[in-house]
Symmetry: C2
Subunit: 310 residues, 2 copies
């Protein structure tokens, strides 16, 4: 079974390059010998990676997106840019609608003069059905559901080679803001003797599908290479774990006792239904990184200061 994508040495444009998945994607595709154009919103210190060149661009700026696409002339685009915090989406719902929908279309429109370019947009499993009755769980879900419908429809309208990935919860070393990263950071702080109190987990029975981000990035490469235009691909480990199971694994790997403040189980059924992932939809791909490796790497990332290297 092919474990790595074998894209020819060509140009890939990656948006959200300074993010958690973006960092891994830049390393992975540069490692395949491709020229990587990493798009970041703000100029900041970024890891120097052979084969990766960074470009600064706010994707809300339609003209700049057009200029950039013309200058880079990518063969592949991996669109990871956007916002993905559920709590923040309640505080500023408009920001989520602005960031996750229109900039994606600006990018797709700018790519119309390059019909051979293959595009993968990173969606999420946290979408809902855009038919009556409309029951969005949160504004983040609404923004990503609208993005999905917009992207798939755009692909149909203009005949571009656009695919959508729907990953489950991605974990691994790097600047994630997910459950495992928060727990890893907490444990690393406790190991350094910093007073942190108990780690709060809202519901021990909540089940989630966790997948290592490096497995996901490999799947993205295979989709860019082999995916069917207009295709929607699920990317998940196919295995669910309760938060209690995950926390137990982390606590066993910790070098110091860690207290957990368990919340009520009330919302777990809701979470369960939403997170029940249907396995992988990428032909020839399967996850290879064991859960314990992800957990060790997360702890190592935060033990070494979080950001020095991924």
């Amino acid at each position: 079974m092919d474990e790595r994508a074998s894209l020819p040495k060509r140009v890939i444009m990656i948006t959200g390059a300074s993010g958690f998945t973006g960092g891994h994607a830049c390393r992975y595709f540069a490692g395949l010998g491709m020229e990587v154009a990493g798009i970041v919103r703000q100029s900041k210190t970024l890891p120097a990676i052979d084969g990766v060149r960074y470009y600064c661009c706010d994707l809300m700026d339609k003209r700049r997106v057009e200029e950039l696409v013309r200058a880079i002339a990518p063969d592949y685009v991996l669109h990871l840019g956007g916002k993905n915090s559920v709590p923040e989406s309640w505080t500023n719902p408009l920001l989520y609608m602005e960031t996750n929908v229109l900039p994606t279309l600006y990018l797709l429109n700018a790519l119309r003069p390059l019909p051979a370019c293959r595009v993968l947009v990173a969606g999420t499993k946290a979408v809902f059905r855009l038919t009556p009755p409309y029951r969005p769980p949160h504004p983040y879900s609404l923004s990503k559901s609208l993005q999905k419908a917009a992207v798939m429809s755009w692909s149909e309208l203009f005949g571009q080679a656009i695919m959508l990935a729907e990953p489950s919860n991605l974990i691994g070393p790097g600047p994630s803001t997910g459950f495992c990263a928060l727990l890893g950071r907490h444990i690393a702080a406790a190991e350094r003797g910093e007073a942190t109190g108990a780690f709060r987990i809202s519901s021990r029975a909540t089940r989630r599908d966790f997948l290592d981000v490096r497995d996901a990035v490999r799947a993205y490469g295979m989709m860019l290479e082999q995916g069917t235009p207009g295709g929607i691909y699920s990317v998940s480990s196919g295995k669910e774990h309760t938060l209690e199971e995950i926390a137990t694994l982390f606590i066993h790997a910790a070098g110091t006792p860690v207290a957990v403040d368990w919340g009520s189980d009330e919302d777990s059924a809701k979470d369960e239904a939403r997170q029940n992932a249907p396995g992988s939809g990428v032909p020839g791909w399967e996850p290879v990184i064991p859960l314990m490796t992800s957990i060790s790497d997360i702890l190592q990332y935060f033990r070494t200061g979080g950001g020095a290297s991924i």
Copy 2:
């Protein structure tokens, strides 16, 4: 049966006030004794109507929308603003996504501090299902389908009293760009002896539901008064006519012979399916303006210069 809405004398904000439906809506609600705040994008010559005050605002300007809503403090909002030309949407699809989706959410977000405010958004029957396989007929339909999903979801997320109207083809005197207006303008030009050639109609068998805009505006008033939050209301005459039938009625009403260049019938089945309106969903409302009155009024509008009065 109640033929007019009986909204108490309060403040209604109407976007797209300089448009075809907007002009009729301003007159109608002012005629009910309400204070009408008509929102127009650009300052231009607008009809002076007792009870109507115009405000200039580009709905893409989020801050200005917030200021305006605070200043007007509406009890009702009728959102008619947006773009609605299918051919233009092919030429500039991004403009349609920008104009029809985000500004609607800017408006709804600005209204969150006014939970008693009742809002009606004007949609269209030309929407498609935002589920796989995604088959938008044109970018205009995509923009309005995304608007519909966004509006209905927003209503659910934030508990605002928002309703959606899905009107059929609105006709009547005024600056419309629809089939009947184009034919009416052509006939008026022919009557003035201006050389215009034959009027081209793509398919004589295409069936459409035409409704007088003044009947529609009355339905909007009843929805604003009595509609259920989250409700989607069809507003149509319930009667379909072929373009040939409509053209024949116009030609009979013309004061001079008018030539028609009939196109092929190839696309008529598609149109038929899309335009097959399910009648009215507004309790207590039914259309009262006969088709011949609409046609006479359209001809009269263009005979008198188009714009002098509606």
